[in-house]
């Protein structure tokens, strides 16, 4: 599904963040990336989604055989990439329902599907909102404005459900959530798992992975993947921290 080879990235300011990252995720798998602060986790997610402000100095990213790095952010969304943000953006003046419908129809039209009319979209939205237990009241409000941390993350998973991506990157979706919110978000993620969809779950802590069991766990440190293992690696990291990974390497 996605093939990242020797990826080198620096910020526009000049600091090199990713220093030769390799990662391959087959269709239908859930991979987790764990790592200490500043290891490059969020940079990786932004570079994959196409945010400005980063310069790729070497390496390649292929998504279903296409050169992902040559595509605009919206083209990546159309092709099937989704990024759930750590800090979802508040947009006063735009209702959540309007935003979601605009996004869904932009993606549908780009994929050669007919745009949904208001009635069909409402049915679709209700169905997707149910999965993450978001009330229709939240859908009428402005995008993320006045939402709690948990509601913002549930709104991200709602978008995942509506936009139907093949590859979803979830950047610290668990941060700032209490246990109840975490389990709702995790149920939402699990509901969207399937053979045609891959996930990259970026997290600082083990606890999300208690709810969303990954197929593969990677450790990102100093801009590279320094260790890869099964779900048990996450438990070990939780118990022992990150120091031992590079000491032993």
């Amino acid at each position: 599904m996605i093939e990242i080879k020797n990826l080198h990235v620096r910020t526009e300011g000049g600091a090199e963040i990713l220093k030769g990252l390799d990662l391959s995720i087959p269709a239908g798998q859930v991979h987790a990336i764990m790592g200490p602060n500043g290891s490059g986790k969020s940079t990786l997610s932004y570079v994959l989604a196409g945010r400005d402000g980063y310069e790729v100095t070497a390496g390649s990213v292929l998504f279903k055989g296409q050169d992902l790095l040559a595509m605009a952010p919206e083209e990546r969304a159309h092709a099937g990439i989704f990024l759930g943000l750590q800090y979802p953006v508040e947009i006063p003046g735009v209702s959540n329902a309007y935003f979601l419908r605009t996004a869904v129809n932009a993606v549908r039209v780009a994929r050669g599907l007919p745009a949904l009319d208001a009635v069909a979209f409402m049915a679709e939205m209700r169905r997707a909102a149910k999965v993450v237990e978001l009330s229709t009241e939240m859908l009428k409000r402005d995008v993320n404005v006045g939402f709690s941390g948990g509601e913002k993350k549930r709104n991200e998973i709602l978008q995942l459900g509506l936009l139907d991506p093949e590859f979803a990157i979830l950047d610290e979706t668990d941060s700032g959530l209490d246990i109840d919110a975490l389990s709702v978000v995790a149920r939402g993620i699990n509901a969207h798992r399937g053979p045609g969809r891959s996930f990259l779950v970026i997290t600082h802590y083990q606890r999300l992975l208690d709810h969303v069991r990954p197929d593969v766990v990677h450790v990102l440190q100093g801009g590279r993947i320094v260790k890869t293992g099964g779900p048990e690696l996450a438990l070990e990291l939780e118990a022992r921290g990150y120091g031992w990974v590079t000491e032993g390497a």
Binding site: E74, I91, V94
Partner: protein
């Protein structure tokens, strides 16, 4: 048909005033940011009496039938109504207001008797003057005690070409009256528009005035508000800007002359590709105006490096017992929000339009007329695309 004697008398006064003041220039303090020279250089010819009367009749004829009885021209005004003309729009220091009277032969008066509620909005669609013409437009809205009325003035035209609209609107809201007013300045490219909206709000009167200053090459509207009795409440909401060779100036003066009155100003500019905006706002609180509550806010969105705005919010307070706040901000579209929208599949133009419309949403949603809202949204979208 000759003019009414009262109009001739007003004109004589205006002639004296204009001879004494002349046109403002850059040294005139309250014209510091807006050049008058391009208007003078265009050598525009005043619209003659017959053409003015024809236009006034056409505008009047287009008013919704259920509201038409409240709209009169200058030909048969009762003295008490006629006395309202020129009462709140003072001439001193206002050369264009003097010029308006000097060139004026007819206008419209909306008179709503005591306690009468006019349900249908009264829409005055002035269109745009012929190329080369200087057109005075004059309106008085006189809402007697407890009356309610909505008045919308539209100035719009297609194509391009130099012409001047010099519009003066006076609004008198007597005790307990409720007036909603909107002025849409959407004149064609190359046109000049200088306007004045003078508002007097009486005891417990409520006036809500919207300004859409979104067309023309050089446009200025002065909003002068006098809160003359306790409990008066005036809200001003203005949206200005556009794309390319436009200069849009809003010059606001709010005078709290009485205790326990309230005023709010919310002006937002959206400017792109050479457009220039000016906001000058003064809230003046007189010595006896205790328990005044006044807010004044100007927010500006510059869509690219070619846009410019000058903003001068000012408070002048002559007593301690008030709640006043003011502020101005100028910024760009939020890069993080743009990325967020694009990562959800919206193309860059659509994402920029959505955020721009969101910036103006509180003002566009408050407009008293659906057609006006659609026009405003079109203009804002054009500011992004250059359409």
């Amino acid at each position: 048909m000759s003019d009414q004697p009262w109009l001739a008398a007003l004109r004589a006064r205006a002639a004296e005033r204009f001879a004494a003041d002349g046109w403002p220039d850059r040294r005139t303090e309250h014209w510091k940011y807006t050049p008058v020279a391009p208007i003078e250089r265009a050598r525009l010819a005043p619209v003659d009496a017959a053409a003015q009367r024809a236009e006034v009749q056409a505008v009047r004829a287009a008013v919704a039938p259920e509201a038409a009885d409240f709209v009169r021209d200058f030909s048969d005004l009762p003295p008490a109504v006629q006395a309202g003309i020129g009462r709140v729009a003072a001439l001193e220091g206002h050369a264009f207001a003097a010029r308006n009277l000097l060139d004026l032969h007819d206008g419209l008066v909306i008179h709503v008797p005591r306690g009468v509620r006019v349900a249908a909005p009264i829409v005055l669609a002035w269109g745009t003057p012929a190329v080369g013409a200087a057109r005075p437009v004059r309106v008085l809205v006189l809402a007697e005690a407890q009356a309610e009325v909505t008045v919308i003035e539209r100035f719009d035209g297609d194509g391009e070409g130099a012409a001047l609209t010099n519009a003066v609107t006076e609004i008198i809201a007597r005790d307990g009256a409720q007036v909603r007013y909107a002025k849409a300045q959407l004149e064609r490219d190359g046109a000049f528009h200088v306007g004045r909206v003078a508002i007097e709000a009486g005891r417990d009167a409520r006036v809500e005035a919207h300004l859409l200053n979104l067309g023309g090459a050089l446009a200025r509207t002065e909003l002068d508000v006098a809160l003359v009795a306790p409990g008066a409440d005036v809200a001003l909401k203005g949206l200005f800007g556009g794309r390319g060779a436009r200069h849009q100036d809003q010059h606001v003066t709010v005078r709290h002359q009485s205790p326990r009155a309230t005023s709010d100003q919310d002006f937002r500019g959206v400017l792109a590709a050479g457009a220039r905006g000016v906001f000058t706002g003064l809230v003046h609180v007189a010595a006896g105006a205790h328990h005044t509550r006044a807010t004044q806010q100007n927010r500006n969105l510059l869509l690219d490096a070619g846009a410019h705005v000058d903003t001068r919010p000012q408070l002048e307070i002559h007593n301690d017992d008030v709640q006043c706040s003011h502020g101005a901000t100028t910024g760009r579209l939020d890069a993080t929000a743009l990325f967020y929208l694009r990562s959800r599949g919206l193309d860059a133009t659509t994402a920029r339009q959505l955020l721009t419309l969101a910036f103006a949403a509180e003002l566009t949603e408050a407009l008293p007329d659906e057609a006006l809202r659609a026009l405003a949204l079109d203009r804002l979208r054009d500011a992004i695309t250059g359409g």
